[in-house]
Structures are given as structure tokens and as C-alpha cells.
């Protein structure tokens, strides 16, 4: 068996992101059509940005990135060595989207390649095809099994009013990257990585998966759970421990902030793209002008060339934005929703306990039965709380690292951009101010 172990692997590895310090190769202008339901008002007088309708938010990125590894082996080169000493023994890639057309519907499947050295897997390499629905199923199962663990977020379903191009290339590519991250985050999670449903998802053939899915709790029981959840959430939890109240507050504020940052980042991307479009028209005008000015040809052409180079630098900067910052920020927007769900589920478990305890004080008749149930529920609550606490610390750490590194990378990208523009213009200026000297020396000859 091939041992694909790494000296210090990382559960923090977010495969698919560009390695630190590297810049994605500037692509041409892809068919970027960023959709927004509302337009941010640039008025500085407004204290808050306009509410941004989530359903219509489509992350439509510049998809020209060759950084996507095509095989798990190439991921080894991208590992960031972090403090944790987990040994990575499960490598997953999501790629090769394909369109399938049936009489009823059209959908996209993605190829998932898994390489592993774990014993519980029958083989060391697997290749399967999955569609978005399957991912949804997996997520649901994980949430059921681990209601208070922080499950990684899935990219959104595509719900846009009146939009026909469900399968536009940029959208598919963005989704593919997000799905890739999703599976790898699960693989990195100390608990989730051993989940049985996860294993089946990675290894079962299409027909196997269908029949496996049917085995799960039936529709009715799932509906029952949902009803109970809604009922208990309406009652509200009374004895929430302080630490979880604190956690809840943090999550709410975090969610608000990250949503704002998401909006701002997307708006910046849009503004930069518009700026780039105008600059592309601006440069060539100087070349046109040079055709009617014999004495200013060099100067004008020089300026046109500088502007052109700055345009290229802008494109690079923008693709950096769309490769690094925007996906990370958006992922944490989804995470924040996920977290609110986790808090709810935790509260719900506690409410179950609380209501049984309450019942005990009023109905002495079933005291024994209730006591037994209460005992079980107390265990359940304690488990849930501990699981959440542990996962929470892990998540927070990761969040801070991810955001810090995303912003740092963006800032560095910006610095590079300005340095490049500076160099371009300075070299032009030197050429222009040296010129008179050249002419003088020619005269002397």
C-alpha cells in the first residue's frame, strides 16, 4: 500500500487554494457576470450597506485558474505545515464536471477521486461521480449524526428568479471548488472523517448509493424530527449555559460582520472590473493621438504602453481577489448560517431535557420512566455540549487563520500591484527625461 503520509500534515489544509505567495496566472476577461439583487449605495452618509438578498447572490468568479490540482498527489506540494500533528491519510479531489441529460432533467455530476491508506477502506483508490443532490444528502446525514458539530458549508443551491443559465461555466467552476473544499474539510475533521455515510459517499457506485440512501430513517420520521425542532425552537430555551450564550452572541455578530465583508468584497470586485474596462479604452486613445502629433509620438505611445501594463497588473490583482479573498469570505458567510443551525440544534436537545424535567415535577406517576429518560437525555446534552465546545475552539482558530491569511494575501497582492505600476511609470519617466540629453549629444556629433 502506498504510504502517503506526510511529516506534519495539516488538518487545516484547504486544498485548491493557491499556495501562499503565488499569484494565479492572469487570465483574459472571462465571462464574468456578477449578479446582485440590490446595488450598494456609495453614499458615505449611510451607516449601513443595503441589505443584500442572499438568494440572488451568485459568486461568479474569474475561472481562469490553473492552480486546481488534478490529482491528489499534487496536493502534497501545497501542504501548509501547521502546528497540528495529524497525519493525513485521506486525499480527495473533485473535478471534471459533466453534464447529463435525461428526459426529466439535466444535471451536472462531478468526479470524486479518493486516495487513502486507511484500513477500513476496501481499496486504496476510488473514483465515483456525484451530483449536488448527493452532497446535500451527505450533509443532512452528517447533521443528523452530529447535531452539534460544525459541519462544513455547502455552496448554495442555485435559486435565482428568472435566470436561465443554470449551467454557466463560471458557476460550475465555483461550485466545483466549493464542493472540493467541503469534502476535504470533512476529511480533516477529527470526528467527521470517520463517519460511515461519508465513507459510502466516497466509495459507493451510483446504484449502490441510491439503495443505501433509502435505508436511512424514512421520510415520516424525518418530518417528525423537523416538527419537533420547530416546536422546541418556538418555545425557546431557558437554561442555556452562559458559555453558549456568549457563543451565540459571537455568532450573531460574526454573521453580521462577515456578511457585510462579503458584500463589500464583491462590490470591490465589481468596481475594479468596471475600472479595468474603462482603462482598456483609455490607453489606446493615446496611441491614436500619436498618429497626428509627430513631436509627441514617443511620449504618447509611452503613456499608452504604461496604461496597458497597469491594466495587466489590475487583471492579475482581480483574479487574486476572486481566487483567494472572495471564496474564503463567502465560505464563512455560509459557515455563519451553519453555526446558527448548530446553536439551534444544541438548544433543541437541551429543551428536550428541560421539558422532560418539567414533566417530572408535574407527573409523578411516570416518575421511573421519566427519570430513566432524563438520565439518557442528560448524557445526550452533555455529549452535545462537549462536542460543540471542542469543535468550536477548533473552528474559531481556523476561522481566524483563514481570514487573516486571506486578507494578508490580498494586501500583499495589492502591494505587488502598486509596486508594479510604480515601476512602469518610473521607467517611462526616466525615458522621457533622459531624452533631451540624448538629443544634445547627437547635435554635438
Amino acid at each position: 500500500m502506498e504510504g502517503e503520509r506526510l511529516a506534519s500534515g495539516s488538518s487545516e489544509l484547504a486544498v485548491g487554494e493557491s499556495p501562499r505567495g503565488g499569484a494565479p496566472i492572469p487570465g483574459g476577461s472571462g465571462s464574468c457576470s456578477l449578479l446582485q439583487a440590490d446595488v450598494l449605495d456609495l453614499d458615505e452618509d449611510e451607516d449601513d450597506l443595503e441589505v443584500f438578498s442572499k438568494d440572488a447572490s451568485l459568486m461568479d468568479m474569474n475561472s481562469f485558474s490553473p492552480m486546481m490540482p488534478t490529482s491528489p498527489l499534487s496536493m502534497i506540494n501545497q501542504v501548509k505545515f501547521e502546528d497540528e500533528q495529524d497525519l493525513k491519510d485521506l486525499f480527495i479531489t473533485v473535478d471534471a464536471p459533466e453534464s447529463h441529460v435525461t428526459t426529466i432533467e439535466t444535471f451536472i455530476t462531478y468526479r470524486i477521486i479518493t486516495k487513502t491508506s486507511r484500513g477500513e477502506f476496501d481499496s486504496s483508490e476510488f473514483e465515483v461521480r456525484r451530483r449536488y443532490q448527493d452532497f446535500l444528502w451527505l450533509k443532512g446525514r452528517l447533521e443528523e449524526a452530529h447535531p452539534t458539530l460544525i459541519i462544513p458549508p455547502l455552496p448554495e443551491k442555485f435559486i435565482v428568479k428568472g435566470m436561465v443559465e443554470r449551467f454557466n461555466d463560471d458557476f460550475i467552476e465555483t461550485r466545483r471548488k466549493a464542493l472540493h473544499k467541503f469534502l476535504n474539510r470533512i476529511a480533516d475533521h477529527p470526528t467527521l472523517t470517520f463517519n460511515e455515510d461519508f465513507k459510502v459517499f466516497l466509495t459507493a457506485q451510483a446504484w449502490e448509493l441510491s439503495s443505501y440512501k433509502k435505508q436511512g430513517p424514512g421520510l415520516l420520521s424525518r418530518m417528525g424530527q423537523t416538527v419537533r425542532a420547530v416546536a422546541s425552537s418556538m418555545r425557546g430555551v431557558r437554561n442555556r449555559p452562559d458559555e453558549f450564550t456568549e457563543m451565540n452572541n459571537f455568532i450573531e455578530t460574526f454573521s453580521q460582520k462577515i456578511n457585510l465583508i462579503d458584500k463589500i468584497s464583491q462590490r470591490i470586485y465589481k468596481e475594479e472590473r468596471d475600472y479595468l474596462d474603462e482603462m482598456k479604452e483609455y490607453g489606446p486613445i493615446h496611441t491614436v493621438w500619436s498618429a497626428s502629433e509627430e513631436d509627441l509620438v514617443d511620449t504618447l505611445k509611452g503613456i499608452a504602453s504604461c496604461i496597458d501594463q497597469c491594466c495587466k497588473a489590475t487583471e492579475k490583482r482581480m483574479s487574486g481577489l476572486s481566487e483567494v479573498l472572495l471564496p474564503v469570505v463567502h465560505e464563512y458567510v455560509l459557515y455563519s448560517e451553519m453555526l446558527m443551525g448548530v446553536m439551534k440544534r444544541r438548544d433543541q436537545i437541551q429543551t428536550e431535557l428541560d421539558s422532560k424535567v418539567e414533566a417530572l415535577t408535574y407527573r409523578k406517576a411516570d416518575a421511573d420512566l421519566l427519570t430513566e429518560e432524563i438520565g439518557k437525555l442528560e448524557d445526550k446534552v452533555e455529549c452535545a455540549n462537549n462536542a460543540l465546545k471542542a469543535d468550536w475552539e477548533r473552528w474559531k482558530q481556523k476561522m481566524q487563520n483563514d481570514l487573516k491569511s486571506a486578507f494578508t494575501d490580498t494586501a500583499e497582492e495589492n502591494i505587488r500591484y502598486y509596486e508594479q505600476c510604480l515601476a512602469t511609470w518610473e521607467s517611462f519617466l526616466t525615458s522621457q527625461t533622459d531624452l533631451p540629453l540624448e538629443e544634445d549629444s547627437e547635435d554635438k556629433i
Binding site: L40, L42, E44, L49, F250, T253, F254, K257, L260, I261, I264, R267, I268, E271, E272, D274, Y275, E278, M279, E281, Y282, I285, H286, V288, W289, S292, E293, D295, L296, T299, L300, I303, C306, Q397, Q400, N401, K404, S405, F407, T408, A411, E412, N414, I415, Y418, E419, C421, L422, W425, E426, F428, L429, Q432, T433
Partner: protein
């Protein structure tokens, strides 16, 4: 256009210098020594001689003030007045002493310029700053009373006066001198010159290529100069078109750039708020937020500098119009010349026919003669005599028009050459200053980003320290 004889209605002031080679009346610049007696407009080498204005005088438009008054229809209006100060610089000590100071409004500048256009048709007259704000982008106001617009206009008006004062021909004009020195009554003085009557009749604005006379004339020199002027006209059209395009797109670029920077300012707000509750990353976030704010506010100065650059280009956009005015004047003279020549030629022909009895050209007289019989020899002789007189006059006129035209072409080209050199210098300087602006912008902006990056790293390391 006829040669303008000294206007009899202005007996009290020396006439402005005749531009078309007529007897030059020297401008008596009230007390100042004039250098040279005869105006020589042959070009560059007279610059130093005729720049006595700049040597001795400093002109500045130093203030702008909002005023209300009554207009021609006796209605209240608000307008801006500009303070023009003239200082004379002493020879020995180079100290400047304020000699004149008066207030003028934009419409008076326009009046001055229109006067110069009429009296110096062969000169590329410097343009005024724009009447209304054009090429406006998001943040700029299109309002004429907006303080930024007024400030830029003030600079533009000063620039106009300096250009006129440094022009070898225009600087000696009496009306210009009075503009700087005589506040009251100046408008009446200008109008008394009657220049409005001399300006082009509305009808002859655009001429088609001139019709060739049926009789060959020696217009080869004229044809050559026509070609030069045609090229010049094309050049000025191109210049105007390319500069307006450039200014339009530049305005859009400025708009977009403004948007990018200002949206970053939102980051600043969010980071600051976030730092309040995210204890571990607090300081780092606060700092990063601050730097985002610095970044966002840096765009205002950057774009203000760029606006100044745009104004420099705009001046030459308007100069293109001045060039066209000279070309148009030339066209009119050509038209006039060729009409006169044609007229003369046809008269000569008529004369010849009468003398020899052959009819080549159609004339009503000829037809009636055929129909009603030949006229008597005395009648014919009388007609021939009249024609000969007319031909004589016509030849004189043609000669003087030719002379006029040649003088015009000579003087105009001298000024055009001067203009070209000025334009090349100025534009190159402007374009280079644009590069300098870009450089300073990159430098100015890179540091907040660096600081933000450092802050973000600091934020991260605080986390690890916990």
C-alpha cells in the same frame, strides 16, 4: 473681409496695430517704454522684443467673489467676479509693486476675446476656460457656482491673461491693456471700436471648396497655401476629436477609481466595529480598519490633481477651435479673392467681345442685340469704356486683395509655427506631469496597504499567542 481702415469712431485712442501690413500705429502703453517702432510679426525672433509686458508686468487673477447685481433685463442675478491684479516689476530691485487691481466677470473676458478674434484674425487666439463644466464625473459638480469649479476657472482665466500677455502681437493691444487697467467704461470702449460689425456675417460659416474660375489665373501660390490650411484644418479636427474622447474616458476612469477606493472605506467601518467585540484580533482589526480609511480618503487629493491635468488638455481642446477660426478666415479670403478674380475675368471677356464683335458668353444684352438688331457704334464704345474703367478698378482691387491674402498667409503661418512649438512643449509637459502623478499616487497608496497587511499579520500572531 475687407481691410479694416482706422476706425474714425475712435479718435481718442491709438488704433490697435493693423494686422495686414498696413501702416503700423505703435501702441502707446501709457507711460511704458515701447521697444521697436514697427510691428514685425515674422515670428519667434521678435518674441523677446515684444515681451516687454512680461518682463515688466506680473498679472494674476487672485480672487473670486460671488456677487449679485442687476442684469440687462433689470433682473437680479448671481455671478462670480474675479480680481485681476497687475504688478510692475522694478528693473533694479525686482520688487513688484501693485499697479492696478480691478474686478471682472467671465462675460467681460469673453468680450475681450471676441474683440481679439475680430481684430487679429491671423492669430491663434488663446482660449478661455470652459463656460460650463463638461466632462464631469460622479463627484464633480456641474454647477457654475461650485467652489471647486470657480477655483479652476480662476486659474484658467489667469492662464488666459498670461497667454495673451506673452503673445508677441496680442500683448500690445490697447483694449487688452485697458482690460487690465480701466475698470469702469471698458465695455463701452470695446463696443465703440465697432468690432461686432466687422465680425463674420452669419451666413458664410462653412464654405465648400472654391469654384475654379473659367479663366486661368495665377493662383498657384494661393493653391499651395490652401493646401497647408486644409491640412491644418484636418489637424485641428483630429486634435479636437482625440482630446474630447480622451477627456470623456478619463472622466469615466476617475469615476470608477473613486468607486473602488470609497468601497474600501466600508471595510474600515466594519473592521473597526468588529474589533470591538473580537477580543483576540482586536488591535489588529482596529489598525487594519484605520488603514483602509486612509486608503479610501487618499483618492480625493489624487483626483483633484488629475483634474488640473484635464484642464491643461482642455485648453488645447479649445485651442483647436482657435486654429479652425484662422483656417476659416483664410477660406473666406480665398473665396473673396477668387470671386473677384472671376468677376474681373468675365468683365475682360465681355470687353473683348464687344471690341471684336464676337459673342462667346451669353448675356441678356447680347441676346436683345441679336433680336432687336445691332446697337450703334457709339453705344458700343460707351459700353466698352465703362467696362474698361471697371476692369481697371477690378485689377487694382485684385492686386490689393492678393497682397492682403499673401500678408495674411505669411503672418498666420508665423503665428501657427509659434503655436505649434508652444503646443508641443505644453503637451509634453502635461503628459509627463501625468506620469509623475501616477507615480506619486502609487507611492501614496502602497503604504496604507502595507500597513494593513502588517496589521493583519499582527492580528494573526496575537491569536497564536493566546
Amino acid at each position: 473681409m475687407e481691410q479694416t481702415p482706422p476706425d474714425p469712431e475712435r479718435p481718442l485712442q491709438p488704433a490697435p496695430l493693423e494686422p495686414l501690413g498696413g501702416p503700423g500705429a505703435v501702441l502707446e502703453a501709457a507711460g511704458e517704454e515701447t521697444q521697436g517702432t514697427r510691428e514685425d510679426t515674422s515670428g519667434v525672433d521678435t518674441m523677446t522684443g515684444n515681451n516687454f509686458w512680461l518682463k515688466k508686468i506680473e498679472i494674476s487673477v487672485s480672487e473670486a467673489e460671488k456677487r449679485t447685481g442687476r442684469n440687462a433685463m433689470n433682473m437680479q442675478e448671481t455671478y462670480t467676479a474675479y480680481l485681476i491684479e497687475t504688478r510692475s516689476v522694478g528693473h533694479a530691485d525686482c520688487q513688484s509693486v501693485l499697479t492696478d487691481s480691478l474686478w471682472r466677470r467671465y462675460s467681460e473676458f469673453e468680450l475681450l476675446r471676441n474683440y481679439l478674434l475680430v481684430y487679429y484674425p491671423h492669430i491663434v487666439v488663446p482660449p478661455l476656460p470652459e463656460k460650463r463644466a463638461e466632462f464631469v464625473w460622479h463627484k464633480l459638480s456641474a454647477d457654475n457656482m461650485d467652489p471647486d469649479f470657480v477655483e479652476r476657472r480662476r486659474i484658467g482665466l489667469e492662464n488666459f491673461l498670461l497667454r495673451v500677455a506673452s503673445h508677441p502681437v496680442l500683448c500690445r493691444d490697447k483694449i487688452f491693456y485697458l482690460f487690465l487697467t480701466q475698470e469702469g467704461n471698458w465695455k463701452e470702449t470695446v463696443n465703440e471700436t465697432g468690432f461686432q460689425l466687422k465680425s463674420e456675417p452669419e451666413g458664410i460659416q462653412h464654405l465648400d471648396p472654391v469654384v475654379r474660375p473659367c479663366v486661368p489665373l495665377d493662383l498657384s501660390a494661393v493653391a499651395h497655401s490652401s493646401q497647408r490650411f486644409t491640412e491644418l484644418k484636418h489637424y485641428s479636427d483630429e486634435l479636437q476629436s482625440v482630446i474630447s474622447h480622451l477627456l470623456r474616458v478619463r472622466a469615466r476612469v476617475a469615476d470608477r477609481l473613486y468607486g473602488v477606493y470609497k468601497v474600501h472605506g466600508n471595510y474600515g467601518r466594519v473592521f473597526s466595529e468588529w474589533s470591538a467585540f473580537e477580543k483576540e484580533m482586536g488591535d489588529g482589526l482596529q489598525s487594519a480598519g484605520h488603514h483602509m480609511d486612509v486608503y479610501a480618503s487618499s483618492i480625493d487629493d489624487i483626483l483633484e490633481d488629475e483634474e488640473h491635468y484635464a484642464d491643461q488638455l482642455k485648453e488645447y481642446l479649445f485651442y483647436a477651435e482657435a486654429l479652425r477660426a484662422v483656417c476659416r478666415k483664410h477660406e473666406l479670403m480665398q473665396y473673396d479673392l477668387e470671386t473677384a478674380a472671376q468677376d474681373l475675368a468675365s468683365k475682360k471677356q465681355q470687353c473683348e467681345e464687344l471690341a471684336t464683335g464676337t459673342v462667346r458668353t451669353f448675356s441678356l444684352k447680347g441676346m436683345t442685340t441679336k433680336l432687336f438688331g445691332q446697337e450703334a457704334p457709339e453705344q458700343r464704345e460707351a459700353r466698352v469704356k465703362v467696362l474698361e474703367e471697371q476692369i481697371g478698378e477690378g485689377e487694382q482691387q485684385l492686386k490689393s486683395k492678393n497682397l492682403e491674402s499673401r500678408e495674411f498667409v505669411k503672418n498666420a503661418w508665423a503665428d501657427i509655427e509659434r503655436f505649434k512649438e508652444q503646443k508641443n512643449r505644453d503637451l509634453k509637459e502635461a503628459l509627463i506631469s501625468y506620469a509623475v502623478m501616477q507615480i506619486s499616487m502609487c507611492k501614496k497608496v502602497a503604504s496604507p496597504h502595507e500597513d494593513a497587511a502588517v496589521a493583519a499579520v499582527a492580528a494573526g500572531s496575537e491569536v497564536h499567542a493566546c
